[in-house]
């Protein structure tokens, strides 16, 4: 019984078919990769599943519950956390507030609590703050808690974004190019953090990545997407040796 299932999802932007007959089944605890050349539709698939766009056709089911057409915040609070390809941090907010913010859907004190500062609010926000600190510790940036995010180095910003996504308490975490723009050192650290988070929180991870090393090292199953269609799916070895994948990335061999 997969945690997340996508059945023959197709999406058009006007007349352009961005995604065609896409199927996906993520098992609990699995790390899955999605690779493909630029413009293949990887991020579109993320946006479709997380509710940013509604698919033209097809069905998305999260743990027996159909989530097709729900609002992004509803899908997020059902257990689908994500990060973004180009960091989307809130530029005037400090690190701690980022992580606290992602607890939004768990807040029960309501508007009256917010307006009048009831004891319930104080208690709840203190609990959220504790949880946020432990998430920041998990990704190794708790010492930066009171910094404004725009003052942080890139690697730290990536970690904050990861902690923020984790704070939504996801069952599946979608990572959109988690190592984009990182130097080798930051890259190694990030991979270590992803492994650590995966082991610690027992969640499934679905990631888009361009660096083959990262995908091959981390993922159990990899899908290759070309022009919105899956051309290959399998474990890293199968993908590495699949002629169609090699064609898509390196081009066909031509006899001279």
């Amino acid at each position: 019984m997969p945690l997340l299932r996508v059945d023959s999802m197709t999406h058009y932007f006007g007349g352009l078919r961005a995604v065609h007959n896409y199927d996906l089944a993520i098992e609990p605890g699995q790390i899955r990769g999605l690779i493909g050349p630029n413009g293949a539709g990887k991020t579109t698939i993320f946006n479709l599943i997380t509710g940013r766009y509604t698919p033209t056709e097809g069905k998305i089911v999260l743990e027996d519950r159909e989530i097709t057409g729900l609002q992004p915040h509803q899908i997020a609070s059902l257990g689908l956390g994500r990060t973004f390809q180009n960091l989307r941090l809130w530029r005037h907010m400090n690190v701690l507030d980022h992580v606290k913010m992602a607890h939004y859907s768990k807040i029960t004190y309501g508007l009256m609590g917010a307006f009048f500062g009831t004891p319930k609010r104080t208690r709840e926000e203190a609990e959220i703050e504790d949880e946020s600190y432990s998430l920041l510790e998990l990704v190794g940036v708790s010492h930066l808690a009171d910094q404004i995010v725009t003052n942080l180095p890139y690697g730290a910003q990536r970690r904050v974004e990861l902690a923020r996504a984790l704070a939504t308490q996801p069952k599946i975490l979608f990572l959109d190019e988690p190592t984009a723009g990182m130097n080798p050192e930051e890259l190694a650290q990030m991979m270590e953090i992803i492994r650590h988070v995966h082991a610690e929180l027992e969640l499934a991870i679905f990631l888009i990545e361009h660096r083959m090393k990262v995908v091959m090292d981390l993922c159990q199953v990899i899908q290759t997407l070309v022009f919105g269609e899956v051309i290959a799916e399998g474990n890293p070895d199968e993908i590495r040796n699949n002629p169609m994948v090699i064609d898509a990335y390196l081009g066909k061999e031509v006899e001279v």
């Binding site: 609002q71 956390g81 989307r88 809130w90 606290k100 913010m101 607890h103 939004y104």
Partner: protein, 447 residues
Amino acid sequence: MGAGLESSTTNRSSMRNRLSSYWEPYSQVPWLGWLVSALIATLLEQLIGTPLARVLGLTKPPALFGLVIMLKEPGLIPSALVYVLLIYLVPIGLVARFGASLANKVAARLLDYPVVLSALVHIALLYATLHLWSGVSDYRLLVVKLTLIAVIVTLSLNVVNGYMGEFSCSHPGFMALGAYGASVFTVLLFVQDSRFGPPLLPLPLVLQHVLFPISLIVGGLVAALGALLVAIPSFRTRGDYLAIISLAFMFIVKSLFENLEFVGGPRGLGNQPDLATLPWVFFWTMACIWIINNFVRSILGKALNAVRDGEMAADAMTVNTRHTKMVAFLFAAFWAGVSGGLFAHVLRYINPGTFGIRKLAEVLAMVYLGGLNSVAGSVVGAVGFNLLSEALRPLEIFKWIIIPVLLIVLMVFRPTGLIAFTELDVGELLKPKVKPEEEVEYAAATR
């Protein structure tokens, strides 16, 4: 040449050092100390203000720190300066400086009790100061009341334009809705009026005062209802749309009241009972600051910043963005309505022309002068703008050249306003600047 340059820079830095060493003792003064010294200065003015003014050749104590006199009768500037120096600056400076250690001790002691007590003591001191100070003349009272009302409307606009990052122009419209809503309520219920007939609920004056908040809440709710009408079409999109729709809304409200004969049309609506006393205005201002500050520091309120700085990320982090924006907009409109209701009962006459583009310009100026995304900034902006505006009143039409020029200068040098993007932690304000045990060390170090 090189040596001259060097010496001039050392001169300047030594000057700065000297200035900061003069200021140093004052940096140890807690808010409690400043409030007490302000109260003492106003008491002093009660006692010797009038005789001193006579001695200095002024007919009466200068109303606004001599600001008005300066432009009206330049010959009296020295007297006004001496008055301000003797009544305000010197006593406040002396009491603040030499009372600092006592004030720190008291402030520390107050925090042994629940924090509410300390907050109430500070607020009571502030009220007492304002009460005494405004008791000297009706003009001062009016300025204080209008300034407090301006604080409410500035804060409420800051929620939308600063915290939420949308550009809304409809605040004068919300004020008008609140003003008319509250006025109709009180005139209908409490007063014999040529338009509305005999009072429906002829209560003694005391009870009218007690029931006054209901009329303000009615005004606030009317304004929030109006905000709902703006929000439904405009919040599907972002950016300029809200600015345009809200501007249109402001004009619609204005012409609505111009054409509604039963509230007086363009002639306006008067005869409001005299219920907006200083205690009520002060109470509502404090309540507004407290509630809005609570809100913007909660996760639900900070969700506004998340929506402003990245709606897509906010959505993905489970924030219900539409609900968040809607709530903030209606909340801001409610407070604008309350301020409108107070405004109507302070002036006891309103007409639709009051709530036009000029009001909008004033409110926007106060928000951007004080600073976006900042409660303290809004308070500073509203108070500063109102004092400036009163001080420049003798210049008549030139006032509306000088104030915009000042705004332009400010926008060039501080584009986000005086105090922008800060959080107001009331707990911090109440704390002593020097803890008692530190003070011993401090005294030893300076000796």
